[in-house]
Symmetry: C2
């Protein structure tokens, strides 16, 4: 966009393969889309060519990358249009999904299974229960605006979880119900997060293509007292969520 | 493993499809593998059948899920063996990759491109530079123990980034070099994290199958003074990294 001639090479030069330049362009455009700085119709190709200093083919390859991720689509006679909406999920505090996404729509839960089961050894250990203890198992498909967002498998000690079974699990976060029922605040949770490919059955449930990228969480939540009371395995659709964190160089 | 008869149904009962029960079993086993609680050869099928209260076919389907993610492999005459190693990447403070993974091996960087370029408008805006300003671009394939871990595309203001070009980028984190060269500590970084499928070229560079799940970061890092000085787009191999965070219910 700088019209003056300059000795500095254009952004995606440095003599690399077209696929490398396309990735470089796509990353910058993707950042603009995710930040909400690019909405509606993308700038015409000739503007993108001028801005990034690359060929038409490189711009097209970059747009193909965004299209493959479902962020943009091509509308005949209009151009390339932003279509992907990703919701921000902050990692600055522990919150249930309905709380986190309150501004973005209504979270509803389809309860796929709920009831008492015998804890597997690993689950018992994490919840600090005796081997073979009873736990409450709840499996939910969670939707935002009607569309699947995550599949959550939850284990709770029986004394903590059994009262949930009398409540409206379809319309409430488990976190909010736990605090209300037990009159205690939640404390901290340890979370492990990975990117995985959707297995065929999870893909069917979440309504994504087989192999689609998912964010998978394992989260162990404690009451403020320190007692571990909620072990969850969560699969989020990768195309619907962006995690947001603020990292400090110096330990707090 | 509890030998006493009990009215509580076994872990994966509650009358669901086998694929749902297999996912449930796989999630618990996966948690054990990632935590390092399950190493070497997995317990024999009959023990898993007893522990989870499911059929042999369900256990096999669960193990297939772990195998598809590269966490376990079948060794003829031995059984199912843990083979996937995932490195923990804490989100409690801002650090370079070599710092984060110090205990796990040596990080080396293959510099794929490095030099001055004209900043695309979005990059200039994020780094608070004038439109068309010069920035330093560095593209690195980062390896841990020789195997690709991430592909990083980095933009820095020219006054901050140019001195990097004289340094050993192959053997050092950019973060460490920036602090050394400029005699300033880094401050905070804002990070956006997504799960995406690898496009064909990124898959080739990272040596993963096409479509493999990646963790994609966009990270804007500031000097302690508050000046934004490092904008990175990072693709981590999903099969090599688990992010770890501790979330608090109450805001700090």
């Amino acid at each position: 966009m700088n019209a003056e001639p300059s000795p500095t090479p254009p952004p995606a030069a440095l003599g690399r393969a077209r696929s490398d330049r396309a990735r470089q362009v796509a990353d910058v455009l993707r950042g603009q889309v995710l930040a909400g700085d690019l909405t509606g119709v993308l700038p015409p190709e000739r503007m993108l060519i001028a801005e990034f200093g690359v060929t038409r083919n490189t711009i097209r390859e970059a747009l193909d990358l965004l299209r493959a991720d479902g962020l943009v689509t091509r509308r005949p006679g209009i151009g390339t249009v932003v279509c992907g909406v990703k919701y921000p999920h902050g990692l600055h505090r522990l919150a249930g999904l309905a709380e986190v996404l309150r501004e973005h729509g209504t979270v509803t839960n389809e309860v796929r299974a709920a009831g008492p089961i015998t804890a597997p050894a690993q689950v018992a250990a994490q919840l600090r229960l005796d081997r073979g203890a009873e736990v409450t198992y709840v499996e939910r498909l969670r939707r935002l605006g009607g569309e699947p967002l995550s599949l959550d498998l939850t284990y709770l000690p029986a004394d903590v979880g059994a009262p949930l079974l009398e409540r409206d699990l379809a319309g409430n976060d488990i976190f909010a119900l736990l605090e209300e029922i037990h009159g205690q605040r939640l404390g901290v949770a340890e979370v492990g997060m990975e990117a995985v490919n959707a297995d065929p059955d999870s893909a069917t449930v979440l309504e994504v293509p087989r192999g689609a990228a998912l964010l998978r969480w394992e989260r162990l939540t404690h009451f403020a007292s320190g007692r571990p009371i909620d072990l969850e395995y969560i699969r989020f659709r990768g195309d619907r969520l962006t995690l947001r964190a603020r990292l400090d160089r110096l330990p707090a």
